[in-house]
Subunit: 425 residues, 2 copies
Amino acid sequence: MRILIRGPAVLPRPEELIPRADVVIEGRRYEAVVPRGAASGEFDRVVDGEGCLLVPGLVNAHTHLAMTLVRGVSPDLPLGRWLEEEIWPRERKLTGKDVYWGTLLGAAEAIRSGTTAVVDMYFFMDEAAQALAESGLRGLLAYGIVAPSPDRVEEELRRGEAFAREWDGAAEGRIRTALAPHAPYTCLPAVWRQAVALAHELRVPLHTHLAETAEEVEQVRAEWKTTPAQWLEELGVFSVPVLAAHCVHVAEKDIEILAAHGATAVHCPTSNLRLGCGIAPVPAILAGGVNVALGTDGAASAGDLNMIEEMRLAALLAKAGDPTALPAREVVRLATAGGAAALGLGKELGTIEPGRRADGVLIGTEGPHFCPGHDPVADLVYAAQGGDVRAVFVDGRPLLLDGELQTLDEEKIAARCRQIARRVR
Amino acid sequence: MRILIRGPAVLPRPEELIPRADVVIEGRRYEAVVPRGAASGEFDRVVDGEGCLLVPGLVNAHTHLAMTLVRGVSPDLPLGRWLEEEIWPRERKLTGKDVYWGTLLGAAEAIRSGTTAVVDMYFFMDEAAQALAESGLRGLLAYGIVAPSPDRVEEELRRGEAFAREWDGAAEGRIRTALAPHAPYTCLPAVWRQAVALAHELRVPLHTHLAETAEEVEQVRAEWKTTPAQWLEELGVFSVPVLAAHCVHVAEKDIEILAAHGATAVHCPTSNLRLGCGIAPVPAILAGGVNVALGTDGAASAGDLNMIEEMRLAALLAKAGDPTALPAREVVRLATAGGAAALGLGKELGTIEPGRRADGVLIGTEGPHFCPGHDPVADLVYAAQGGDVRAVFVDGRPLLLDGELQTLDEEKIAARCRQIARRVR
């Protein structure tokens, strides 16, 4: 399949803007980015990109897609009560089939707002992976291992390993797997040690929650006399690639550890605010040389799975005391190349150039909120909406065209998810 | 004109949700909110509201609409350089006609994202008022008086007074006026004293910027030995209704002053973050009994004029350390009834009930980000997008229907604004 995207402005990478170009996709990769009118040859499909901006695919580097099923449940409760009385009782009622539909719903929403790849951790992951494969999204998936007591260690590790083995490389390579011990305070040291050994054996990364709340930091200090990051370092965790979600409460030494080992900190600002966790010190983490990606977290805490919103909030929060912090171009880099690096695909994804995987997002910029267009990158971060996304490509395959989902039956998915929501109420 | 909005969920006020209703508008007011199918009589127009949520009109209680013309200019510069090298030089080149077109652009964007009323302060306000009248929006408008030196006092006051006299009650009463000394640090005491006397005479409120930056607080303390709010109280400013934009750096005593005099604090969280001003202590301001409304500020600092975004950010920021702070229903109240009270129309606007002015916003909720719909108010705050707005009514008149602007020629406005942007570059 050879596709021509005709006439959009193109942001091959955040610091370079081509006002008007033709972009050619051949198979799974970008073939050419040339001046408008200069693309030649035969095309199986021509996509009208006039009045649009083409950007590299947005990577949602930390989420739990199926938590769409509990979106909007009892906002504004204290965190403990919210989890114990509202979220967990509903989650305990979920079946594998429910997670399949919830993941499809999350995928539909993610595609509609410009996401091309997700890093997902949940349970019933076979069903989640099946849904992701059908959606056409790219994913790094893992079963979330929760084993705070010795009796659960082997069973949880077994599930994590089985999933990681079975699905790595599935969906023509779009699905890769990870091992995901849930967090320092929910997994015994034995889990971490075995997960690290397994990750080496399977050559997969680790995905976890790290330093999300002040309570976690206190708890780890009380038990292990150190910080969550330093505790994981002692356990050898950083000997494999790590995606560490949140990193809200990290000290200078923690940042040094993440940087020294090439780990990724996944910034999830909406969820961190909504749950009262605080604000991650992203400028300091970046200054420390850590790769930073952005994520929404699950829709239960974030409200949506909209990476354009996440870019805006990340930029704004960093600026609370300094308007020069985290410039618009830098935040776009985090959401694209930063996410690509987190996936271990820094040389395959994250920019629009010949030879790279053709993951991209075409954003309609005709709305009044993009006018007069002094700086399309500033407008992308500070004015764009998820609903402005017109087309989405992953590995050259259109998942959204002219605002229509190409791989998913949205009405059917929504109807099933509403049924599930009523049942688990 | 009698209009039926058929079948939407209705949020008459934040704490009450009617899952499915018929809403009748007769002339400028709501006539009835009845169960679906129960509306009777003849209708001039029937609006399909199935799958939608009808909410009271959103009030943008602090903005400078024509600053759309400098949207996106040099983001990420230090504030002083940004103003002095980028924004002010462009603003100095603007003509009255430019402000007319820039205000139309801002109005189009505001309507598209669910705003029904704006509180606007700028220059060339005759042209801005003309544009606002054409748009059909409701507005409280004022000429921004800047007079830091004695030679400018009389001329600036004269302009402010002339505008306030000429336009109050225009556009069938949709336009009301205010007097707007720009800020404590840009207006001499003589300005404030005369503006207060004039406000009493004309029976109009005062609109100003208050405690926006730490520098302002320092400057006022150095010169007048007190805080901005206390300084204005000494000048008698709070003897008339006051809309105080920002209130980022307010002390307990300042909050007491605002509350005691029935002033409104207008929270503009996006602009406050973007310009590095900080985060207004909204929960404390509310706890102190102050009326709080929300505003975007101008698009130059906010990036857009999207009140749905502003609701979300206000809710999230308040929760950084406490997930129970500023609940979703409360933030909707600030954006609707809080804004109505700021306009002096607390008994006319802000809720959907028979006899009230028919300002309302119909939001399409079929998108995956509204599914499964456990709590439509949480979804409105945490998931909705400006582009979900399907219809907007002001005084019963449709300004947007089926996603189409009814009063403004969007393409012509955008073309003119792009021309202006090129000229002032």
